[in-house]
Symmetry: D2
Subunit: 240 residues, 4 copies
């Protein structure tokens, strides 16, 4: 059974009544609930736990990590980021959600600014499948609607995705590459756009479906183990 | 000076007064005018000319070919398609416009159905730059608007573009990968979405800018000449 | 259980004693044996059967088709190619082997010449994993050797692979992109280089492993079903 | 005229007689000589200059930066790396050479370990063009040989290149993705493998040709300027 750790900053839910009203059990609670219902073995971890809840033991027992952060990216300890980073390169899946685009871990893995446009206007978002053959699109139909969301617009300063699966349309006139797949080292990374803290996005069935599909995709058994370094100093493979 | 041949089906302009009113000199006339103003050496060719105006001599003297067709894809002679195809693989640039997505030449080069959604409702289109570092985006700002256009929507059944430069937003709720770059053989191909025959799209400055940028991109001096076949039957490069 | 149809030209085994000595049950026999041992539900089909053994009923009951052809590409009926083509775009996996690079079906799906260099010198080939995170590389280590093979060398005139998994080194000084993944429509395509008819390549464990991995990859449950055409002529999704 | 800054660690040339014998004017001297001969406006900068010779003023006057480092990556000041990084995202071209794969700037831009295999055996390297349509391949033919070089082998732990142009064959049995293009932010990055300090690689015509081609490619005028942030807080582009 795939082991998913759902990480959340979990501060606005504690301090902002509007957010708490939407996510009384925290954003991580809503995400975890969806993944449990989809059959994953789920645990949660939050910023203000020791080591942010992401000890090496937890990471070693995690097949896929989901990441939601917003207002406190700078409070995430660099040593924890380093542990997460090494685990991703070694094969742990990573699903970065919404404002996690500015997290230390995502910026480090992307190598770019990860900047974008945004507008908080509670507008309608329609998410289109542009790569229907991808397993993350399974069961989605050709598009689905989120009634109210924060807008994120292009230009999104990330490397061109290894595969682009979803593109968002916003009522206010913007588009966004909302579902982006990356391979880095032995790990798989999925960026998924929706999920502002004042909207009940993570309770919506289609959003939960995408996250569950992504968790399955990111943990697929895979690949060979690469060998690096000066492993054969004395002789070539094909001597003459 | 880069030599561009602007190809057009040129039938609806002759038979449909609504289209003729918009493009009295043909769609090719409007496209050619824009390219001439941008400094290209332009000629035109149309379906009902002998060999559709695309003799081998014309193709050999063409650095970039633009292609607009709509209602008569089936009337394009397979032999001409073959000549165009070979020239593209040998390095001629190709810019496929709007309903040219269903042309024989584009489908042959893509290897897929090239199908899509469409709706003729004269709705607003906003075209976003998602790859601002690409030369085809030069001078565009971050988006531009076409006041009325036919809608093309996802899913667009093409191979994932080698580079995706533009994405369209439509008033009616759809998105579309509107500016798609491909390398095939030694040639460069750009698909550009706008240009329904009942809208004056090819007179608009930003649209002309994209086509001119694409013509420059598609003719960039480039590359080495590949060698194929059994060129060295008797000895290896690195004998032992 | 995944249903694989192993297609083979099966002529040289019948007419050339050197080939028959290596593949007494045909190349398809050796490939089928490997796939059966890996747990697939396998059938075979060959050129000289009616409809080349690829009736619509067979194709409809096929999850993944493997293709080996060499001397008789021109004898494959265009109608059968069309059926295979439509099935691939609709989601059937396709594994194209060795000289199948020049088959009608592969050239049609790629849209390029698919030409390459070649040399029959029975030289050593070492196949390297360049994308160890890919499921087709599972269990391979970082490289493996085929003692004697025909050389295929660059330039290989195909679209840049959606993912490049394997690169070959040849004793004689050449390299080749030997394991190339493509998504086309709803289908997945894998080109795998080795398998000249005079070498016992398809009996080798690592080669069988790659083909089995590719069959699994190409049949992964996946995606949503795209909608095309003028499905909403009267109203927009987001009317105003 | 394109302004290139050639950066070099320049320590082994000062301390190791074997290296000094090959590069009496430093590795940067040899690279700069090649670029000057190709018509670029070239300056050099080295590690032990103040700010490593890369002041903000120098970077602002640089269109393309080339980077060679090997034994002292850790001595490069993080503040200088930050300046270079920001300039690349803002459009400065970057050519990373040989052991620069482990430099701070390359690892930061790639987001991966950038690890690889290596063997110092002075073996023959043959570099193949796999993307002949790319401008970096211009004038190369289909392959060229470096008589003696250090081996770098797969797996090379970088993101899949946006375009893969060159692949190396090594006498000892290895292959390597030797010419890798990336777009990051508004900048273009090219990794080029050859150039061990004990071999006269940077005096060879084909190697100089690749570096000059890459400098031209990396400075191509290009693109639009992206807009990020909350630039339109009060109203949508398309209000209803």
């Amino acid at each position: 059974m795939t082991r998913v750790t759902v990480w959340n900053e979990y501060r606005q839910e504690c301090t902002d009544p509007e957010v708490r009203a939407v996510y009384p059990d925290g954003i991580h609670g809503a995400i975890a609930e969806g993944l449990q219902a989809a059959g994953f073995d789920v645990r949660t971890a939050t910023l203000d736990e020791p080591e942010h809840g992401l000890t090496q033991a937890v990471l070693d027992a995690t097949d896929v990590l989901t990441w939601w952060g917003h207002a406190a990216h700078g409070d995430v300890d660099d040593a924890v980021v380093e542990h997460v980073y090494q685990r991703v390169l070694d094969g742990m899946g990573l699903i970065v959600l919404h404002s996690g685009h500015f997290s230390k871990i995502f910026r480090r893995l992307m190598g770019t600014s990860c900047d974008l446009k945004w507008r908080e206007a509670g507008e309608r978002e329609r998410i289109w499948v542009v790569e229907p053959s991808h397993p993350i699109a399974e069961g989605l139909g050709d598009s689905f609607v989120i009634e109210r969301e924060e807008m994120y617009g292009e230009h999104f300063d990330v490397p061109a995705p290894d595969r682009l699966v979803l593109v968002s349309w916003f009522q206010g006139g913007d588009v966004f590459r909302s579902g982006c797949c990356y391979n880095r080292g032995r790990g798989r990374i999925f960026y998924f756009r929706p999920g502002h803290e004042t909207h009940p996005t993570y309770f919506q069935a289609e959003v939960r479906r995408v996250i569950a599909n992504a968790a399955t995709w990111a943990t697929r058994p895979r690949g060979s183990r690469p060998v690096h370094g000066n492993s054969r100093p004395l002789e070539a493979l094909e001597p003459r």
